[in-house]
Symmetry: C2
């Protein structure tokens, strides 16, 4: 199953924190796909999050997210700035997608943004997320800002558009697209069903 997420996206937070353990429980392998929503929103004529452009939806979303996190017993603090710039975090997640520490890094960044109200646009915050995992933060940050790393994230976001991804989180199971934290269970069920069908 592919897990497409955006570090600035509110509903990506609960999804990112629970997707790995749920997938593992069901024997589903997971690909972590960081991408950027900004360029996708721009193609719809939006220069900001729809939750800011449409304040009524925005107010509902914050309350809904608060309830969801309470149900899941996830810590939640509404970020003092929304959406936070996620380009650098996404470059790291994209450049090091295959590293065994990647899921831990992704969760650390989401917690920084949505549980600790820290500014994930700041290299120092991301460096600390990496350092805490016992990784060489400064070195990895430098690599993530190299030209080829930037190109990787651009290509990833273009791939998202080609797949008609329009929001985050999005789960893809063999071409079947599921949008939203509230579709995680459906996506996993689809993956399980497909495994059952494929097996001899």
């Amino acid at each position: 199953m592919q897990f497409w997420f955006e570090f600035a996206s509110t509903y990506s937070y609960p999804a990112a924190l629970r997707v790995e353990s749920l997938a593992r429980q069901q024997g589903i392998s997971l690909e972590w796909k960081a991408f950027l929503l900004g360029p996708i929103f721009q193609t719809q004529g939006w220069n900001d999050s729809p939750f800011n452009l449409f304040p009524v939806q925005g107010r509902y979303m914050w309350r809904d997210l608060e309830r969801i996190c309470a149900d899941l017993e996830l810590p939640f603090r509404r970020p003092s700035r929304f959406p936070r710039h996620s380009v650098l975090a996404a470059r790291i997640a994209c450049r090091f997608a295959a590293e065994p520490w990647l899921p831990d890094f992704v969760r650390a960044v989401f917690r920084a943004n949505f549980a600790e109200d820290r500014d994930i646009a700041q290299p120092a915050v991301l460096e600390q997320c990496l350092d805490t995992l016992g990784l060489p933060g400064i070195t990895l940050l430098e690599q993530a800002q190299a030209t080829d790393s930037k190109a990787l994230l651009r290509a990833r976001t273009e791939q998202a558009m080609a797949l008609e991804i329009f929001g985050a989180p999005t789960f893809i199971v063999n071409g079947e697209v599921f949008w939203g934290n509230d579709r995680l269970e459906s996506a996993l069920a689809w993956a399980v069903q497909r495994m059952a069908t494929v097996k001899p």
Copy 2:
């Protein structure tokens, strides 16, 4: 629990067909609140359903709805026209909200739109929905088109806006707002929890 729905709204269909039995199972009383989304979308600058204005979301929604109906074993046929004009159906549902036959009528109209691809904008279709329930269709249609019935629906839609309802279906439990068919279970759980708290 208040169930706010719009006859043209795709996700209102599965919600309308399952809300009553689920609420009854949990001992939750239900108020059926027909309203119109069109005037609400207009305040956001949309002169059509967002699923038409944003075709990528629209394509996803149709597939998602198809999967949801399959899971719930609800018949589904994609309407040949979307959204269908729902003013007359909504006037009936608003004018006769307290009648014991109202839930059956609502389900009949949703089935006509989303399972049978019939044009619920046509008075003859609505008349048949009423007649099939053993009701005097023509008489009820006339009453639903009286000036005071029109005013009722306008007031209802204005009330929806005042409540910051921006989509359908929406469930409201003591001021707590839940949006979407996929929030029905959460809304019911909220209602059950509140009953438990209120009881002596």
